[in-house]
Symmetry: C2
DNA sequence: GTAACTGCAAACGCTTTGCACTCCC
DNA sequence: GGGAGTGCAAAGCGTTTGCAGTTAC
């Protein structure tokens, strides 16, 4: 998404474009794992020393509301934020919590078929596959 | 699972069989939605007036450790407990949090195929499909 | 008898809230 | 200029922990 489109999306929905909001969104899409709030906070403190956790939480809710990110709640306590809104599988390490996205055309085809046979309209999905990653096996 | 098998599973793993543990497990499997800790607590207080939330949390961890239940973390804050350990789809209402299990043979077939093509061994999965239920639409 | 479990209360950690100050538009 | 947003600190809430009393075996 171009910056201009992002700005418009914010403004059309009555939200202001601020340095903090841009920094948070850009940070999330720059990563292919799905960071926690704390990771976002730690990473942004370098360039934005006064940024607060409160702002990060508020911004994440806003981004979710705009359909730009998805929240993935886990049992470890923390929530992770996934900017990949397309149909995909989260490959999750149960030890360290690392997440990789995985795309399978045959899975997607089957999923769409399944959805078209339902008698209600789905609003989204979450597909997790759990395993133990190489690092954690050692 | 027969009571005797359950007792043995507990004892083989060095855990004692207690009234509270049995009550918690039986309550979870008696329901087809997936209750929260609070719901379990409220329901069991009637027959077990002195039961505590602490005991419920400890027991749930134990049941998870024994592979009898699965924890489903959501963003609403609370965790839900699912005694269905077979491959299935959770049909989740995003408004009220109600969950129904759904089984699809063609999905299961496709999923197993997908898993057999991976270069690592999966430890489990979680498949959620989100929608808005009839009650919440009104 | 004794090691494990329960129940209670305090502690914990992540998230939300309230409010004065600041900044976008 | 005015209202929305930020940053800070306090409050909130689900979960975990510690420990004395109790129970399974």
């Amino acid at each position: 998404m171009k910056d201009q489109e992002l700005f418009n999306l914010f403004r059309e929905n009555g939200f202001k474009v601020t340095t903090q909001r841009l920094a948070i969104y850009k940070y999330i899409i720059s990563r292919d794992d799905h960071p926690t709030t704390e990771q976002i906070y730690q990473a942004l403190k370098k360039d934005h020393p006064t940024i607060s956790l409160g702002t990060i939480y508020k911004t994440l809710h806003l981004l979710k509301q705009l359909g730009l990110i998805q929240e993935l709640g886990f049992n470890e306590g923390s929530i992770r934020y996934d900017p990949n809104m397309e149909l995909h599988i989260n490959i999750v390490c149960t030890k360290c919590g690392h997440i990789d996205d995985y795309e399978s055309k045959s899975f997607n085809k089957n999923w769409k078929e399944l959805i078209s046979n339902l008698n209600f309209e789905p609003k989204g999905q979450r597909i997790d596959l759990y395993y133990e990653c190489e690092k954690c096996k050692k």
